[in-house]
């Protein structure tokens, strides 16, 4: 068993889309049961970095990785590694809430059904449990059989979190999950994530520095030098240090709002 407190270990990872180098020399250790945030200016490759962790970049034509991405001691880019198994363990919540055009119930049950759970009572239990964990159950318990598209943006995003929780992942990746939400809905998601981190390893990409500061235990700051250059990690460490005593001048300029 691999026990060093790290869920993910990225070593000298480069990401290419075709000939274009998106990320260069990414070294990152993501601690278990913590919230790690990835911040940086637009276009610095932070979303792409997140998508390396559940191999969603595989969907991009010509995407290719060098270096290694290790989850619990196993390289997820290994030939024999099961992508389906990986995505069951590493769930993802997207920037724009994207519930399926199905009922609330069917949205949450989608994952479990995928893994062969057909029993009605088991499914009912999973749906209720997941919606409760996502702090949505009370609001929707009387309309589980109505369309998920009728929910508000914030509710839809919590539904997407419930949908991920329903497959019992170990890691949750969130790609700017609050960028389409109002402050109150954002607050609820943040509270929810703070609750969830006791059980899950959470990695969140955000362009909102206050959010990173409030929410996360560790912060990685990504940047590109010039247009067309690959994104790199400028600084990575515990959130307090990054926001109060950054060692790199560029980090300080970014977090004090002087660029980006």
């Amino acid at each position: 068993m691999h026990e060093n407190g790290y869920k993910f270990e990225l070593e000298e990872m480069d990401l290419y889309y075709g000939d274009f180098k998106v990320l260069e020399d990414v070294n990152l250790e993501i601690k278990k049961c913590c919230i790690t945030s990835i911040i940086g200016p637009s276009g610095c490759g932070k979303s792409s970095a997140l998508r390396c962790l559940n191999r969603m970049n595989d969907l991009v034509d010509g995407a290719r990785i060098e270096g290694s991405v290790v989850l619990d001691g196993e390289d997820i880019y290994d030939r024999n590694y099961s992508v389906v198994g990986l995505r069951k363990r590493v769930g993802m919540v997207f920037q724009k809430p994207n519930p399926f055009p199905k009922t609330i119930y069917d949205n949450v049950a989608f994952g479990p059904r995928l893994y062969g759970i057909r029993d009605r009572e088991t499914l009912d239990g999973i749906v209720e449990e997941s919606l409760k964990s996502a702090a949505l159950f009370e609001e929707v318990k009387d309309k589980l059989r109505t369309s998920a598209l009728a929910l508000s943006g914030g509710q839809q995003q919590r539904l997407c979190i419930a949908r991920v929780l329903a497959v019992q992942p170990e890691v949750i990746l969130l790609d700017e999950p609050c960028s389409a939400l109002d402050p109150i809905a954002t607050q609820r998601i943040e509270d929810l994530l703070s609750d969830l981190k006791t059980r899950y390893t959470i990695v969140i990409v955000t362009h909102n520095m206050q959010q990173a500061a409030r929410l996360s235990d560790y912060t990685a700051f990504f940047m590109i030098e010039e247009q067309g250059d690959p994104g790199k990690i400028v600084e990575y460490g515990d959130t307090n240090t990054i926001f109060t005593k950054p060692t790199d001048e560029r980090t300080e300029r970014y977090i004090t709002g002087r660029f980006g």
Partner: protein, 284 residues
């Protein structure tokens, strides 16, 4: 000329053009119904047996032939077109091969139906030694409609937001499961709406019918290998070849029935599409 005046003139011009277009369509519909509706609604006509020499013949077998041909063609072309559309929209990587397929499709789409008709006749009647029959017509008609139907199905699939696919795959679904459970149900209303054009074309197509299906039958066709006489071909035949004295009545009545069938199918397709939209958002 000031902007407000220009806007007013433009509004008037476009209204006028719209009314002219609608007027032409209304004129055609009214003209066909004025000449044929009284004949068309007589049971002795729409369900009656045709006559080869005497007057007073009906078009019962022709109405059945038309519907039979439409159903048979859809049974063949729906899976092929939707299947190929799924391949192009979901699985194929854009490249030389897909560009070549699209080029062929677009070229085929502009080939006149008479060319397909002769191809069908050569293949089924000369090489395979079939007699004229519904199946020969349906396969030929499926080929004729493939480009249009495939393109509209592909378009419907591409309208499904990428984020649905991402959500599904991020939960561990593979591509096929994602297509089956998410993409296809979401695209279904659009795919069904896309059948309206091919359906109308099958009903109105006469060249393929004349060469591969037949233009006159006395009995209602039962097997797909039976000769049949769909209305569009029969109308052509009665108008140009038949010796019945009341040929004008038959042509007018037949045209009216064809128009009614088209309205019905159009209406039915829309209802089906609306049903799928509702079912989709409710999760069905």
């Amino acid at each position: 000329m000031d902007a407000r005046k220009a806007d007013r003139i433009a509004t008037a011009v476009f209204w006028a053009i719209g009314i002219i277009a609608l007027g032409i369509l209304a004129f055609i519909v009214i003209e066909i119904f004025a000449r044929g509706l009284i004949t068309a609604v007589k049971p002795s006509f729409f369900a009656g047996k045709p006559q080869a020499l005497k007057e007073g013949g009906g078009v019962g077998p022709m109405v059945v032939s038309t519907i039979y041909l439409v159903v048979l063609t859809m049974l063949i072309s729906f899976p092929i077109s939707v299947g190929a559309a799924i391949y192009l929209a979901e699985f194929a990587r854009e490249g030389r091969f897909t560009r070549f397929i699209r080029f062929c499709l677009d070229s085929l789409g502009t080939v006149p139906s008479i060319v397909f008709a002769i191809f069908g006749m050569t293949l089924f009647l000369f090489y395979l030694n079939w007699r004229t029959c519904l199946l020969a017509g349906a396969i030929t008609m499926a080929l004729l409609n493939l480009p249009v139907f495939l393109r509209s199905a592909e378009e419907a699939l591409r309208q499904v937001p990428l984020t649905y696919r991402e959500a599904s795959m991020s939960l561990g679904a593979d591509r096929w499961t994602t297509v089956k459970k998410i993409v296809l149900p979401t695209a279904m209303p659009g795919i069904i709406t896309g059948t309206i054009l091919p359906l109308g074309r099958i009903m109105g197509e006469s060249a393929v019918v004349i060469f591969t299906v037949g233009v006159f039958v006395r009995a209602i066709p039962l097997s797909p290998f039976d000769p049949a006489a769909p209305l569009a071909g029969y109308i052509w035949y009665v108008q140009s070849e038949a010796v019945v004295p009341d040929y004008r009545t038959i042509v007018n009545g037949g045209a009216a029935i064809l128009l009614i069938l088209l309205f019905l199918i159009n209406f039915g397709t829309r209802r089906l599409s609306a049903y799928y939209s509702k079912k989709k958002s409710l999760g069905g």
